[in-house]
């Protein structure tokens, strides 16, 4: 039969997700394919929407804290700190030095834990399975340390408005210090030898998912994704919070803005985080861990609540009504979480509960840039791109 002219080809539309092994949670992406090449890529988000912003409006400032755990659940401390920093700035609470150092330290622990998981799942998607399992071993050490610190491994809710919940023990500090002794060598010996110079890894990542510095800025990318394109922007350097102005660290930058550079940025950031943790432990000052001028926001100690009438009333009011004397005002405060810039915009109307809490979540912005990264890409590049933007859908969908 002769081929007639009315034979047509049609693009193949496949729906990757919300249940798919490579979409890191419940991301749905509709891909239009011409053979193996992607013609169009459309991300759909919202499958993990829990209404965190709205929920916070009916909670006191203190009780809204655990909500932030559930944003980027890989690095929950960073979200907690972001929220606490925002509320503290809004109400002018000064955090004691010791608490600042502890927060910085735990934030960097969370950053390592997040980056290690991000790189690991990224590598698993590309097919390097061993890196994934190595990373879970190292992440386990960090999670054990979190458990030692506050009893929880993942959703820690460890920081408090005005400080941290409990002091660190010497045993914890020793163990963490021992971890930082070996960790950079572990990265170099076990991760970088498997990936950095691996020909297949380089072929799969170099020149893939390229985004120029200008585009990255225009799309609002932050964190390692922006720095991979060579833009020097890190909130820890530009608007330091907690103890970041008292520790020394470098901000690794990429050149080409491709998957490989972003991967290198993350690997280097882990080493820098390791440096920060060591400095924090070495410089850890003595003193209080809770701001003395924040009784309006912090619960009194449990033993006092059980023995002392005033404290009992204080706790009851704080839990049920929130801080009565919360001043009015509004403020945007952002912190550098592992995924990028996490911003809290909080409006206080004096009622003790946030009138509005708006979140600027980096993952949401990065998902929206996915079609840009997938220009002229193939199906396998899409997988690499989903891995490289290192998204957590809990934070993206809020």
């Amino acid at each position: 039969m002769p081929i007639t002219n009315d034979m047509k080809t049609k693009n193949l539309t496949i729906s990757m997700g919300p249940q798919h092994p490579a979409t890191h949670g419940v991301l749905k992406v509709v891909l239009e394919l011409d053979g193996e090449s992607i013609v169009k890529c459309t991300p759909y988000v919202g499958y993990l929407h829990r209404g965190v912003e709205k929920l916070a409006e009916s909670m006191t400032y203190l009780s809204a804290l655990p909500l932030t755990d559930r944003l980027d659940y890989i690095a929950s401390v960073c979200n907690n700190v972001g929220y606490c920093v925002a509320v503290e700035r809004l109400f002018g609470i000064e955090v004691p030095e010791r608490a600042k150092f502890i927060r910085t330290m735990t934030c960097e622990m969370a950053r390592i834990s997040s980056h290690i998981l991000g790189v690991a799942t990224h590598a698993l998607d590309i097919g390097a399975m061993t890196v994934f399992l190595y990373s879970f071993r190292d992440r386990e050490t960090l999670l054990d340390l979190f458990e030692m610190l506050c009893g929880a491994r993942l959703t820690v809710s460890y920081p408090r408005i005005g400080g941290v919940r409990n002091d660190v023990t010497q045993e914890f500090l020793d163990k963490l210090y021992a971890f930082t002794d070996t960790f950079p060598a572990t990265i170099e010996r076990e991760y970088e030898t498997l990936l950095n110079e691996n020909r297949i890894w380089k072929q799969r990542t170099i020149g893939v998912g390229v985004i120029t510095a200008e585009e990255a800025i225009n799309w609002g990318m932050t964190g390692p994704n922006l720095r991979g394109s060579g833009v020097f922007y890190d909130i820890r350097k530009f608007a330091p919070y907690d103890a970041y102005d008292k520790v020394e660290f470098d901000v690794p930058l990429g050149k080409n803005g491709d998957v490989y550079d972003r991967y290198l940025c993350r690997m280097e950031e882990m080493k820098q985080s390791n440096r920060i943790i060591r400095q924090c432990i070495e410089q850890l000052p003595k003193g209080a861990i809770m701001a003395p001028d924040a009784p309006k926001f912090t619960l009194p100690p449990k033993d006092r609540v059980l023995a002392d009438m005033e404290s009992l009333i204080h706790q009851f009011v704080l839990i049920t009504k929130g801080p009565i004397a919360a001043p009015e005002g509004e403020l945007y405060a952002s912190t550098e979480v592992p995924k990028g810039e996490l911003g809290f915009y909080i409006i206080s109307d004096g009622s003790g509960k946030p009138y509005r809490m708006r979140l600027r979540s980096p993952s949401f912005v990065h998902v929206s840039a996915l079609p840009v990264l997938c220009r002229d890409a193939m199906v396998a590049d899409f997988i690499a791109n989903v891995g490289t933007i290192d998204i957590v859908l809990g934070e993206c969908d809020r």
Binding site: L12, T13, I14, H20, P21, A22, L33, E36, A123, L124, D125, I126, G127, A128, M129, T130, L133, Y134, R137, L194, L195, N198, I200, W201, Q203, R204, M378, V379, A380, D381, I383
Partner: protein, 338 residues
Amino acid sequence: MSLNFDLIMPFIFILVKIAIVIGVTMLHVMYCTYFERKVIGHMQVRLGPMRVGPHGLLQPLADGLKLFFKEDIIPTESDKAVFKLAPIIFTFAAMSSLAVIPFYNGFVVANINIGLLYILAMSSLGAYGVVMAGWSSNSKFSFLGGLRSSAQVISYEVAMGMSLIGVMLLAGSLNLSEIVKAQQQHWYGMYLIPQCVGYFVFLTAAFAETNRTPFDLPEAESELVAGYFVEYSGFRFALYFVSEYIGMIVMSSMAVVCFWGGWTLPPFITNAIPALLLIPGLIIFLAKVYFHIFLFYWVRATVPRYRYDQLMALGWKVLLPLALINIVVTSIVKFLVA
């Protein structure tokens, strides 16, 4: 009666041989899955299966039973006849390759003169099982997997066939037993040494033919969930699974027969240590096969996956020219020596 008996005996003999080969291979497949999980487990700082039996030794049995008793799901919109036929073709192709492999001197189910071609033909036939599975499932993911697999198998088939031509030239035969015997004629005892380029090309193509990492694109779980057999469940899935492992065993045996001297040890070793001649040929053969299977696992634990176009580029732009150069050089050397 005695006449009939003489006629029937060879058939019974062959049937027994087939039963032995398939039985032993299936046992190997079972424990290949176990060792894959163990070897990769230990490479990845974990233990692998530990629960069923001591050190998880009964895990393959448990897996097999589970797959056997699982519900057989056939998608409503699939092409049912083709859907059912595909795994049978795939398994048939994989198993029938075993017929021509000489496990030790004289033990081969069918000692045919075109053994090498036969295996290549059978591994091409297996591609039909893959393409039909991908097409008949009526699922976009299995369709893409089938598409990738057919392209991959066809491309690497070429390189694989070319890489073996060097061996054919040296041995002057396509009979696998003859190839082994021809290797014994030389002091080095294995074509691995004069045919190292061919061996490299063959091994790489073997990884691609068996859909193993770094060429496991047809079943890349992070891209296509499971590839062409994504819609298969229960025993039909098990057929694919088993056939892939048989494919690994066949490819390893091919490498051993064509490049490693089959069931023999190189003369320069046996001349130095004559006691080694006492080792049964089957054990030598199996040890070489196990090494190659271990290689499959080792590579899987080490490298990431290629992209589709990179896979094609490697096949056509690197492996094929290498194989062609190998043929030319081998021919010239053979001409000059002879």
